[in-house]
Symmetry: C2
Subunit: 345 residues, 2 copies
């Protein structure tokens, strides 16, 4: 046992300083701004750090520097994989800069989200990542009052005053509708996630509706079903669509989970996809390839959004000026679940 650190108690910067025969200030500098310290001194400090197994105390650091090196993200849910990839990319980007990611969930509720924002703020996060724009102005006020940088993901930049990193949900959805129509479909239904407080879901519906209108088609109200994002709900919605006497020949789904649910319903009703019914998804999560037939869907730039969010936020935090918003491209992904419309005999 050495006599520099009292056993039990984790070593402090003072223990390191004593062992390296320097002041605590020098230890701090060696660790944070190595170039401002003489090489020999730095080496000495390093040795002591290693020997003691020293790790800066988080609270002390946060208190003194007013920085936590933590960024918080609030996503609607962890239950399905929709946000996992972006989160993973975000985390990797942050980790490269020694910043930790704190993840919270809002369960698609603006109130819960606001609570989580408070929570993250209380923990002193240096930045926040939010999904979409469906929230009260008060939520933004919280962030702005504290001057905490934040990024909004998944929605197309619509507001020059905020940092938004997303893509054109409406445009991509309209594109899907166009492709569906190109294959001869005229009887087109849609299963969407709940649109309330969900601008992405709303935009996707709007996009499809606009494309149909453009082609002089109209989306029948009863052929637009809103439900929660889950396999079961998607299945149930599709069942309703498919069991009515006159059924659609194509179902455009608001995301891949709903599309997979629709596929389940088709299987159970012995409706062949894509021969008798076309189904499209959105997001391109792994599930889209696991089902049979594989889903024709829209590839969303998950990884790029996550990585870009990390980089922009870090830049904003370090340089103090808000980076520009960015719109990322999506891609229509042809697989097997969308087919040509066949006349029914």
């Amino acid at each position: 046992m050495n006599n520099f650190s009292l056993k039990g108690r984790p070593p402090t910067i003072e223990d390191v300083a004593r062992m390296a025969r320097v002041s605590t200030a020098t230890v701090s500098r060696s660790l944070n701004t190595p170039h401002r310290v003489r090489e020999a001194t730095r080496l000495e400090v390093e040795k002591a750090v290693l020997k003691l197994g020293y790790t800066p105390n988080f609270g002390g650091q946060a208190l003194a520097s007013n920085r936590t090196n933590t960024i918080g993200a609030i996503i609607p849910t962890m239950d399905n994989a929709i946000f996992a990839t972006a989160l993973q990319a975000l985390q990797e980007t942050l980790a490269a800069h020694n910043v930790t990611l704190l993840v919270a969930t809002s369960r698609y509720s603006p109130d819960e989200e606001e609570g989580q924002i408070r929570n993250l703020l209380a923990r002193g996060v240096d930045g926040v990542v939010l999904i979409g724009t469906g929230r009260a102005p008060s939520a933004y006020k919280l962030l702005e009052a504290r001057g905490v940088p934040f990024a909004i993901l998944w929605s197309i930049p619509s507001d020059t005053e905020r940092l938004m990193i997303g893509f054109d949900n409406a445009g991509a959805a309209a594109d899907v509708a166009v492709r569906v129509m190109e294959r001869g479909h005229r009887r087109i239904a849609m299963i969407s996630g709940l649109m309330q407080n969900n601008d992405r879901a709303t935009a996707r519906v709007d996009g499809v509706a606009a494309a149909l209108r453009e082609a002089d088609l109209e989306m029948r109200p009863s052929w637009l079903i809103e439900c929660r994002y889950s396999l079961n709900h998607g299945e149930r919605a599709a069942r309703r669509l498919l069991q009515s006497s006159s059924r659609p020949t194509a179902i455009i789904c608001g995301n891949d989970v709903l599309a997979a649910g629709a596929l389940m319903a088709a299987h159970e009703l012995s409706i062949a996809v894509p021969e008798e019914l076309s189904i499209t998804g959105f997001d391109d999560i792994e599930l889209a390839r696991a089902v049979f037939p594989q889903l024709t869907t829209v590839r969303v730039p998950h990884r790029r959004m996550g990585a870009a969010a990390g980089e922009c936020l870090l830049r904003w935090i370090n340089e103090g000026t808000r980076p520009k918003s960015m719109t990322l491209p999506t891609q229509f992904l042809e697989r097997q679940s969308l087919g040509y419309m066949r006349p029914r005999e």
Copy 2:
């Protein structure tokens, strides 16, 4: 503008104290141990807190109390949904006690995991959640040296010195093998996740092997394929199994993702499941129901593990004594991908 808080700077406990005309100690008590404060005083403090929009500074709190109200979890990956449900349950349990969950990933690497443990420790987490037992003793030493409570999930309690909350991977896997054999299968292969450093994967393989041996069958070395947990890898592995001249009639998979991959391979090779080939999964994630045919699999107590981990850890942190480990039940889940062996003509 009131003159109690300087604009820009977030209000401190001192601002609250001044406004409520009490000491900072009383404010602290009002917030942390309300019952030790006179009602009228407490109300006065509350009023000031509200008016000022005061939120305790995290760093100060952590530094003074040596507590962060944060628990860290290190999971192998967020990419698939395997750990999502347990995490969600854990988070809900913790949230009910005003404790925040910090999530980190190790990408199935013990070294990365150890790095993350250091990281969490440096951030002063009050407790840690780990998956499985595949790690170096040094990792445990880190935790124990700091006296930080930790729980190990997903593995069956094997060590009376540690808090483990899991289930019998080997037993459940053996049970699957027995059921498969009961349906007449004798040519049984297995696709497993990488077993190195992964005790769950290893236990599942061991369980199956033991059950086969029990029935005087033997697992051919070439019929046990190890690969990463991904759709693609599962598909590739199954392809190898199915394209050899003499192929198995049943494939037991180490988890649902691999099983879904195997199903894809079967589809592509036009091998009917379960008529010509049986496939089983493990974990019962949502994916298991989304594929066709739906996977016969093992239901794992995701939610209960997560919730129990939260409760046990909280108890340990607050009372100072390590709770007992627990073994949770699993359940064989009959769906569609396991069928009776048919003689090939």
